[in-house]
Symmetry: C2
């Protein structure tokens, strides 16, 4: 289980191409889902706690170049999301928010995933895939059968590798624009 | 204001091609939003009351050939939808459910519209358009800026006429499938 260590230890070794996203079942501890991969230096874990420091979340979104949004509205959106998943790196007593996603839902049939973000320092290492697998797992565990999202063109292939299909049976994602 | 009368009076006159979907501002009465068009025989109104008779809703969905869904789950979905809009015909003291739609949302940024249905007896008369305009109006009144939906191929053009755009800037609607 040296994978996480190789990724997150001080040496910052190149990530292995055989990144294991099919991780062992997560251990749950309080609000945190530990993924079981540990090293003496750092570990990565997921949390479904929606009481996230909004400034820390804003910093993460800044890092990927997203437009800033009013924190008041972000707070409201988190409160009313069906699922909030954050991904953290823990080094000693220091936790760093390195990924985030959330989903809206009717709690019965459909969920729509929004705001998938992984910090640039942790991209291209299987982290986005691990995050999305956790999101899907959580939604499935709550009996949501229809998991949807709207993908920017450059991430369509990424979502395909996770089992998402674009325009299945000709179904089109559509957005309403006020000016029309 | 003879439009609704011509549609819904006993004579069932052919609907005018100049159907007014840009109706006057709705009047609110209790949970019901009256659209201002009235006749002695019938009137059409919208409601945002989510306590809908589930059997009546099932009957409406049956009429358009949708697969039946467990009413327990439908009830849960209605409870956890951000917006539920139903469209009713009222003749004397008799109300008939003739249309329905709902939306999930984070209450801040995004909404996704699901389950848009108009009874076949009332299709091709501008009713679907009126229903959708009401949905958009309600969502906009609650400061939702990103209104989305997933459209079956045969209704993509219908939504286009309402200001929805398919795949804007290459954004793709995607669905997750368990078997992949």
């Amino acid at each position: 289980m040296g994978f996480w260590k190789s990724l997150f230890s001080g040496s910052q070794a190149s990530p292995s191409p055989s990144v294991q996203i099919d991780a062992p079942a997560v251990e749950v501890s309080g609000n945190f889902n530990y993924n079981g991969h540990k090293s003496s230096e750092s570990r990565i874990f997921f949390s479904t706690d929606r009481e996230i420091d909004l400034y820390e979340l804003e910093e993460l979104c800044d890092a990927v170049g997203w437009s800033r949004r009013p924190l008041r509205k972000v707070k409201k959106a988190l409160q009313h999301s069906f699922l909030v998943i954050s991904m953290w790196e823990e080094r000693g007593s220091v936790r760093r928010l390195i990924g985030f996603s959330r989903a809206t839902s009717d709690h019965a049939f459909n969920a729509t995933i929004w705001d998938v973000v992984v910090h640039p320092d942790f991209q291209h290492q299987g982290m986005g895939k691990a995050l999305m697998k956790q999101v899907i797992k959580e939604l499935r565990s709550q009996d949501i059968s229809n998991i949807t999202l709207f993908a920017d063109p450059h991430v369509v292939d990424f979502y395909r590798t996770l089992g998402f299909m674009a325009d299945p049976e000709g179904i089109k994602g559509m957005f309403w624009y006020p000016s029309r």
